[in-house]
């Protein structure tokens, strides 16, 4: 099946073409069926190839599809690289992608853009698969841009709403900033190594000076910052929640935003060589994690809470990458994909039940009304909060343990983030599902559990969130860490753990104890004392106001970037455009007109005059030729 790996991106492409061209003419069921079927086919191929790879001793498989760019010394074949890393990402993308397709059939059922939605979704999966499968930076870049485009299209899916369109544009522009860094990184790689193929570049990486490697690693990381919503380019992700909820789950939680992590893991050799770059990654990661987690504490929009939580978890993953724990980060990508997709889909189910309401202040007491959603979301919340034996516990603990051996400060910040995560997630859970219903009567009457097409993915993802931890059991328990062994071939420079078992046990106990404590704290606050988010912003304390307004980062960017840019543009418009350019264009017109009105005087219809002018002209020319000679 590895030889046929090109089939994996091919199926979604076919689905995209069918839905794109004839989607409107066929029934909704058929349209959704084709889209989901395409992803299911990809998933089956991915699973078969995965099984084959596990049994095979050759871990790096390069599959040439066709010769792509041939120009002088620049030779770029269109090749796929199928190794443990891409095989894992293929499973995540197609597996979770398939579940979310199924979910979307139920969620988008009444939407007029049904087939358009599935067209974009299939296109997204295609590009995402290209991104993780490519054997050189350029194919990854094509996928990278493609997913950015699909993200833009899907955030602005309900294009009649101006705010949604603005959110889409914001996401696209923010990503462009990162993409520029990525592109410069690729160019620098080509200039340095004369190739952009992964296999060639990584083999030669040790032969180049460390400063060049640092530059490459930092440029690539700028790309990752944009795509994976890290400081200072994270503000697009919370706004991206304007898109339909399945999109938030698939693109803005489980897959696309982890592209940055994928790319860093792929290029791990650069980050292992360059101390500066890996330090930067770790610091940016932990700051983002902490920053976003604090914002999450006081948000009232159910999707915004999850969005900030995503930013925060991505920060944790980058922290893991920065301290050299590449396989732990990939493990966290995997478990995060399970529980965050679950939480988003659950939130979608809640929003569906509430008839479009997203404000948690209007919800409450939903646990009895939508039981399946409640139970699955509860499992997801426990998983993200890091309670054993749920999946999030194992992956987060691995990252924090590696951080501890690297730097105590970073570990402390990571720990605080983890505690805050438990708090805001349980705050959301308690406020949404317990207490009294606070919405309108019409909403209360409308409350209902979602159709099976929506609850089925929830149940599957909940199961994965619970048992996902078995992929990476802690080695000091004497259990096999499959994730670590699986990814070993792609980590070029090893970074073995040096912690004693006692320390690891202590750290783990500390993590569990703090998670338990903060959940108990949230329980007393929101269940016993029934604290509710205040209705008006003016009721907040000053420090709460700052957090509630997301530290005014958007306003800050607005002030230092958008406003000056606007002012410069206005000046250019008024001076250069209106005066200079318009002046030249209008001046040419006026000159032609006035000369024309002068010359027109000779056109009087008198034949004699014409003939005389003609003869005079000829005589003049003849004389001129004689005189000039």
């Amino acid at each position: 099946m590895i030889k046929l790996i090109a089939l994996v991106p091919l199926f979604p492409l076919i689905g995209f073409l069918i839905n794109g061209f004839v989607g409107k003419k066929i029934s909704k069921g058929l349209s959704g069926g084709i889209a989901s079927g395409a992803i299911l086919a990809s998933f089956i191929v991915s699973v078969l190839a995965f099984i084959e790879l596990q049994g095979s001793s050759q871990k790096e498989n390069v599959i040439s599809v066709f010769s792509w760019i041939n120009s002088g010394t620049l030779q770029i074949p269109f090749q796929f690289l199928y190794d443990p890393l891409s095989s894992l990402f293929l499973l995540i993308i197609t597996g979770i992608g398939f579940l979310i397709h199924i979910y979307s059939i139920g969620y988008m059922h009444d939407d007029e853009g049904f087939s358009r939605f599935f067209t974009y979704l299939n296109l997204f999966v295609f590009f995402m698969l290209l991104l993780v499968l490519g054997n050189n930076y350029l194919i990854t870049f094509v996928g990278w841009e493609g997913v950015g485009l699909c993200s833009y299209l899907l955030i602005g899916f309900w294009y009649k709403n101006t705010a949604y369109n603005n959110a889409a544009k914001k996401a696209f522009i923010m990503n462009r900033i990162g993409d520029l860094g990525f592109l410069l990184g690729i160019i620098l790689i080509f200039v340095t190594f004369g190739s952009i193929s992964y296999t060639e570049v990584f083999d030669k990486a040790g032969t180049v000076s460390t400063s060049t490697i640092t530059a490459i690693a930092l440029l690539l990381f700028i790309g990752a910052m944009g795509k994976s919503a890290q400081l200072p380019l994270y503000t697009w992700l919370p706004d991206a929640m304007a898109g339909p909820t399945p999109v938030s789950a698939l693109i803005h939680a489980a897959t696309m935003v982890t592209a940055g992590i994928f790319m860093v893991v792929r290029s791990n050799v650069f980050y292992s060589i360059s101390e500066v770059a890996s330090q930067t990654v770790a610091i940016v990661g932990v700051l983002t994690a902490l920053f976003a987690a604090t914002i999450g504490l006081l948000q009232n929009d159910i999707k915004k809470i999850l969005a900030y939580s995503t930013v925060s978890q991505l920060g944790l993953m980058f922290l893991g990458l920065g301290v050299g724990a590449f396989s732990s980060s990939v493990f966290h990508v995997t478990t995060h994909a399970f529980f965050k997709a679950l939480l988003f889909l659950g939130a979608g189910s809640v929003i569906h039940a509430m008839g479009g309401e997203q404000d948690i202040r209007k919800m409450g007491g939903l646990s009895g009304k939508i039981k399946i959603t409640f139970i699955t979301m509860l499992l997801g919340t426990i998983a993200i909060s890091g309670l054993p034996p749920f999946s999030g516990f194992f992956s987060k603990d691995e990252i924090l343990a590696h951080t501890y051996e690297h730097s105590k400060t970073l570990w402390l910040l990571g720990m605080i983030t983890s505690i805050l995560t438990g708090f805001y997630m349980f705050r959301m859970l308690f406020i949404v599902f317990f207490g009294k219903f606070r919405g309108t009567h019409a909403q209360e009457h409308h409350l209902h559990e979602s159709p099976p097409s929506m609850t089925f993915p929830l149940i599957v993802l909940a199961a994965l969130s619970v048992i996902g931890g078995v992929l990476g059991l802690p080695e000091f328990w004497g259990l096999p860490n499959w994730m670590h062994h699986n990814l070993e071939p792609i980590i070029k420079i090893k970074n073995p753990s040096i912690l004693s078992h006692e320390t690891e046990w202590t750290l783990m106990a500390l993590a569990v104890a703090s998670a338990g404590a903060v959940i108990f704290f949230a329980y007393t606050l929101f269940m016993k004392h029934k604290v509710l988010p205040v209705e008006k912003e003016s009721q907040l304390k000053p420090w709460q106001k700052v957090i509630y307004n997301k530290y005014y980062v958007d306003e800050f960017y607005d002030m230092i970037i958008r406003k000056p840019l606007d002012a410069i543009s206005t000046t250019f418009y008024k001076f250069l455009d209106l005066q200079v350019i318009d002046g030249i264009v209008n001046g040419v017109g006026t000159a032609v007109k006035s000369i024309g009105s002068l010359v027109r005087l000779t056109q009087q219809g008198n034949i004699g005059f014409y003939v005389i002018s003609m003869v005079m002209g000829i005589v003049f020319i003849v004389l001129l030729t004689f005189l000039v000679k």
């Binding site: 009087q604 008198n606 003939v611 005389i612």
Partner: protein, 103 residues
């Protein structure tokens, strides 16, 4: 020398004829006269062509003259037809009256 007459005389005659024609076209307002003056100019050129053709013993000039005469005949036919139409419409062949397209 052509038949004992210097080429200069041919040139002179042709020039005089051409200038008479040109002045006629410029000065007169009667369409018929203008028309005749144009013919005069054409034939002045024809004269020059045949003269040099004989001088250089090259038949091409004379062939060319036949062409001009044939085309001139066709032109006369068309021109006279136009003139008669003008006369039918404006009851005059004065060119100064023909300025309807002016404004």
């Amino acid at each position: 020398m052509i038949n004992g007459i210097s080429i200069n005389y041919y040139l002179l005659l042709s020039t005089v004829l051409f200038i008479i024609g040109a002045v006629g076209v410029m000065a007169r307002r009667n369409s018929i006269i203008i028309f005749m003056c144009i013919e005069l100019m054409l034939n002045a050129v024809n004269l020059l062509l045949v003269a040099f053709s004989t001088l250089h013993n090259d038949a091409a000039g004379q062939v060319f003259v036949f062409f001009i005469m044939a085309v001139a005949a066709a032109e006369v036919a068309v021109g006279l037809a136009i003139l008669s139409m003008i006369y039918r419409n404006v009851k005059s062949i004065d060119t100064d009256l023909l300025s309807n397209l002016k404004n």
